[in-house]
């Protein structure tokens, strides 16, 4: 079980965001991607999920050796990809329960039906594990949820959908200390040889609860450094300047300046 991202170049609205990302995630591995704002971490997660806003210029994304670039968003999900989003979308009128039930039903073979009783028990257990409160099933999807509830609801979906590869995009933002611990514990419990995890974060605090096997630093749209837990500590204490200095990276976040093509002829009133 392997997810491979090969030399991926991605743009949005004519701006190149990813500039040659290479990453291999095997089942059972946990990867942390860190980096300054605007370096393409979330874009990487979104493009793997197939967000239509982004355009792949070149490169490939493969699951178990097969390219998924031609797969639609839902097909990628059913292949086992999951993205816990930074800003989960609100869907008024659709209950959490109906949504997750539909998501599980659509994964089943034709003619087979979800055992609702078993699903209710699993839903309630997952909800309790994440301290989500009893009314969660009947609340409309993410509507009126606090920031922390939205993040926990993403993890609840992950627990029930049991993906093969999961991207957690800044799942720690908006969480208080207790909620962070709960989320961390739940994600850690999900770790298994059948799950490859990619954590996108700015801070060490999430990685105190979920220990990664590999830590990657992303700058200027590509992974520039890979290491272990020591890398996290150094980033937390010294930021990213030393990485740039060490690797000789300059102006990584500078956008191209507009270039003047000359002056147009004008007509002035006398």
């Amino acid at each position: 079980m392997v997810l491979e991202i090969r030399d991926l170049f991605v743009s949005v609205e004519d701006t190149m965001i990813l500039q040659g990302v290479n990453l291999t995630v095997n089942g059972g591995e946990t990867h942390a991607i860190m980096g300054p704002n605007g370096t393409g971490k979330s874009t990487l997660a979104s493009i793997c999920m197939g967000h239509p806003k982004y355009r792949i210029e070149s490169g490939d994304i493969l699951i178990d050796g097969e390219s998924i670039l031609e797969k639609s968003v839902d097909e990628r999900s059913r292949l086992g990809l999951f993205l816990a989003m930074q800003n989960p979308t609100e869907v008024p009128g659709v209950t959490n329960f109906d949504f997750i039930k539909a998501a599980l039903q659509t994964r089943m073979d034709e003619g087979k039906h979800l055992r609702v009783g078993k699903f209710i028990l699993e839903f309630e257990t997952a909800s309790k594990d994440l301290s989500m409160g009893k009314g969660l099933a009947h609340r409309f999807l993410n509507q009126g949820f606090s920031g922390g509830e939205k993040k926990r609801n993403e993890i609840l979906q992950m627990k029930l959908l049991k993906p093969k590869f999961a991207f957690l995009d800044e799942i720690d933002s908006g969480l208080d200390v207790d909620a962070l611990r709960i989320v961390g514990q739940n994600v850690t419990e999900l770790k298994s040889p059948d799950l490859g995890l990619v954590l996108i974060t700015h801070y060490q605090r999430l990685l105190d609860y979920i220990t990664p096997d590999y830590v990657h630093v992303m700058i200027g749209g590509k992974i520039v450094k890979t290491g272990g837990l020591d890398l996290i500590e150094k980033i937390d204490s010294q930021g990213y300047e030393w990485v740039k200095t060490e690797l000789g990276i300059t102006d990584f976040d500078k956008r191209p300046e507009p270039v003047s093509l000359g002056t147009c002829p004008t007509k002035s009133l006398k």
């Binding site: 197939g50 839902d74 999900s77 009128g93 994964r107």
Partner: protein, 301 residues
Amino acid sequence: MKVPNYLEAKDNVILFQGNTVTNHSKQKVTGTEVLLDGSGTVFLYLEDYSQNEIHIKVSEHSQIELYMIYKSSKPCAYDIHFQVNSFAVLNIFSATRNIEVTTLDIHRTFHLGSQAVLNSTKALINMGTTSLVDEVHLDSELAQANLDLLNIGAYNDVFTVKQDVYHNAKSTLSNITNSLISHANAVLDYSVSGRIFKGNEFSSCKQQNKGIILDEAGVIQVLPKLYIDEYNVEASHGAAIGQMDEEQMYYLQSRGLTESEARSLIISGYTKPFVSAIQDEDIKQMIERQILKRINEANII
């Protein structure tokens, strides 16, 4: 004319069919006047009724659950006057059905007395050209009206809806929520207005309109209006009309739902809260079937 299956086993049914009024209820019906008294559930069925004016009075302190089903196979026009007296609660659920494409005009006027409560839930799911006028007069203090409406239009249907709320006394409350779905050239044209007159302080007038247009040719037009002539009041209106939300589609699809499953779920987000508010199971199932039929006929999902 026969009684529809979903009403056969019901107590308290009043039938307005053709030229005839048949009262199978304990309520008093005189000509076209219906007096609702006490507490309980009443079913009022109108099928191609020839007299257009009907008067419905709800006695003081009564608590009535009223189901009104309009079925038409030819052009029909109804002018229905409701008088909800002081301290009475009228929960009215109404649905329009037709088997032929036809025209239907409904004009409902409500007058509410002191501390009277009107909760109106209306499903407009019929075919053809429909005009609905709802005029609500909150005549005495603490009168309250909540209007919820679900409108699904398809195949060149035209719905013209006018909702006017008049706050004629202090401390009166109104809340209008419209959920609109347009597909395949359907035109849904809404004018929603609330009026708070001078001196009627501590009143609250709220409107919320949301609409989803499922193809390029559908039209939803909402004109929300507030006429406020008093300072110490609450008033708000909003209209969110648009096509299927791409971010919602992406989110649902990112969990494995196909495009049509995601569309279906988003549409159910409009219809389900409405349907789940219906207490009577037979009526609820009938409306669910009708919504599903209308949606499937129009290939919405």
